[in-house]
């Protein structure tokens, strides 16, 4: 990908660089669809930003740009799934969850159909401001029966998201984020439904994270290491179903837990982890890093992560706080 984009042409909402970005999700969806004729793709007029331009160009007879009409898109997908197809629906996270919750509930989740809901721009990961920021989508979707939620921690896991979505025999929400650069060479660990991945081992504190906050958690763990605190870092890409065994084992092993998510602290990953620990009767130092029950604003991702307390220093500070309580 050394090509430089110099033509005067339509820019997309996400890629603000002059380099083409990798589209591992879009490519994986096309190859899955070539192998399985049941797969169709729908998009509510955000085609390049959701990497579905590849699908549109290669499998046009199975692609629908339904216009800026997300409610209809989910209903269409429900109908297609009833007729034996596997529809992948695409928009931004904010529009494909909050705006169409009733449609998802009644036309995908209640009938337990293989409707795959794919959102981009998770949490604060957008310049586009409050209207486009989904900071409560995981909380909402987590409470809908039958729905599984997967969030990749980086582009190296994007192709796997298509596989996980297909492996779950029902509705899925993929909380995706377009890469902003071509990632370094990285061999991903294998992801499974309901399994967390230990990305770093340590015995003092466990940091459980997902999505954009995973890299920040790893940076925090490096910094903590310099101060003599050893952190276990878990990538909880499968937010629902969640890896209960790994959470309990980590609680027992490290005796202190920090969660870190690009989402409100209410109802998301942190809440899911807390529910499991509390219901097991475990009391331990615990801290949720996330957006603290407030609205955000438009800005660059790194600026917003710092301002709203989602970055490595916020995670490290939370780790210090739980370590102090642990004594």
């Amino acid at each position: 990908m050394n090509e430089t984009l110099t033509q005067l042409e339509a820019a997309d909402f996400i890629n603000r660089s002059f380099k083409p970005l990798p589209r591992a999700y879009g490519e994986a969806l096309v190859s899955a669809a070539k192998a399985d004729s049941r797969i169709v793709a729908l998009c509510a007029d955000l085609v390049p930003p959701t990497e579905t331009d590849l699908f549109r160009d290669e499998l046009p007879e199975r692609f629908h740009n339904v216009g800026i009409a997300e409610a209809n898109m989910i209903g269409l997908a429900g109908g297609m799934a009833r007729c034996g197809e596997i529809p992948f629906c695409h928009s931004f996270c904010a529009f494909i969850t909050k705006r169409v919750l009733d449609q998802i509930t009644m036309q995908a989740a209640y009938p337990n159909l293989p409707v795959k809901i794919v959102g981009y721009l998770p949490g604060v990961a957008t310049l586009l401001g409050v209207s486009h920021q989904a900071i409560e989508d995981v909380a909402i979707m987590r409470s809908v029966p039958n729905v599984a939620i997967f969030e990749p921690s980086g582009p190296e896991y994007h192709a796997t998201m298509v596989k996980l979505a297909l492996d779950w025999d029902g509705p899925v929400y993929l909380r995706m984020k377009r890469p902003e650069t071509t990632p370094d060479e990285f061999t991903p660990q294998s992801l499974e439904i309901g399994k967390g991945i230990i990305r770093r081992e340590g015995s003092d504190v466990t940091i459980i994270s997902a999505g954009l906050c995973l890299a920040e958690s790893l940076t925090a763990a490096d910094n903590l290491d310099n101060e003599g605190i050893e952190s276990r870092v878990i990538d909880m890409a499968s937010i629902k179903p969640i890896d209960q065994a790994l959470i309990l084992e980590s609680a027992a092993r490290t005796g202190a837990i920090v969660t870190a998510e690009n989402h409100s602290i209410i109802g998301g990953l942190g809440s899911a982890v807390a529910e499991i620990i509390v219901e097991e009767g475990i009391g331990l130092p615990f801290k949720r890093v996330g957006i603290k029950d407030q609205f955000c604003e438009g800005g660059t991702t790194s600026y917003l992560m710092k301002k709203f307390g989602l970055d490595a220093s916020a995670i490290a500070m939370a780790a210090h706080q739980v370590m102090e309580k642990k004594g």
Binding site: V40, V66, L76, Q103, M106, P111
Partner: protein, 275 residues
């Protein structure tokens, strides 16, 4: 499987369905009587003449699919399904009793003949369009009928869906709006009028027909025209009379009707005379 009946047979079926509606709603003393009586001719013509389906094989992928998007109009819906052979007529006695799948809003937990769970208004048309698109892709000849409520057309999603069906030229789709002119809080023009509905739907790309929704021959003729129309979806404005078939109830415009036993008994007697 497509059983063509003559007019007298269809008229008798419609009367039998109306009798079921009266019997089903009477025990609870109130319910969707008026809509059921009003829509009986739409249900009769669709299920007993127009649509191709096989009650012994409700999952048959090549079936025509009928979506009742006003999922509360269940007395007539369940009566129709039972008489058509999808389940035992005796089960109608469990209507809206605890534990029965015959809930007041139809749910697909009853079986695949409830083609989508539509109690939240405005959603069913989109589902039908999704099915219609998939059927085209799969080379199936199935047709997709959507019984929409007039009040339901105030929902924005209906118009998103109609716009898409129109631009896609979905000729396997036929909307029948049960135009009884009543919504929850009263006559539609006092809440929010849909008019001019024919012009609106035509501008969305539909071939539009207006018929007496209580005239079996007119309904059948409208379905015929819809079926032979190519490259455009169809819209049938079926004007129905609330309470049709029971003189004392005709034209009583109540979304939910209080239905005391003596009224139910006289309605039953009146309908029996028509058989």
């Amino acid at each position: 499987m497509n059983v063509k009946h003559n007019l007298q047979e269809l008229t008798n079926i419609a009367t039998r369905l109306r009798l079921h509606v009266v019997d089903m709603v009477a025990p609870s003393g109130q319910g969707y009587v008026q809509q059921g009586l009003g829509a009986a001719d739409i249900f009769t013509t669709l299920y007993f003449a127009e649509a191709t389906m096989d009650p012994a094989n409700p999952f048959w992928p090549d079936r025509d699919r009928i979506f009742l998007t006003t999922a509360h109009n269940t007395a007539i819906f369940y009566a129709t399904l039972a008489e058509r052979g999808f389940f035992d007529v005796a089960d109608l006695a469990t209507y809206v009793t605890d534990g029965s799948p015959l809930e007041i809003n139809s749910s697909e937990r009853m079986g695949s003949f409830v083609e989508a769970t539509c109690g939240s208004l405005g959603q069913g048309l989109s589902v039908a369009i999704g099915c219609a698109l998939a059927a085209k892709r799969q080379g199936r000849a199935s047709r997709f009928y959507v019984i929409l409520g007039d009040g339901e057309m105030q929902e924005g999603q209906v118009w998103e869906a109609a716009m898409y069906a129109g631009t896609q030229g979905l000729d396997n789709l036929c909307i029948i709006v049960d135009y009884n002119f009543v919504q929850s809080e009263g006559p539609m023009d006092l809440v929010m009028s849909l008019e001019p509905i024919m012009d609106k739907m035509e501008s969305f790309g539909f071939v539009c027909q207006e018929v007496d929704g209580n005239d079996i021959e007119s309904l059948l003729a409208a379905y015929d025209m819809a079926r032979t129309t190519k490259n455009k979806p169809s819209f049938i404005k079926a004007n129905t009379l609330m309470g049709k078939g029971v003189a004392s109830l005709e034209g009583l415009m109540f979304h939910q009707l209080r239905f005391p036993p003596e009224v139910a008994a006289s309605a039953r007697a009146e309908l029996e005379m028509q058989l």
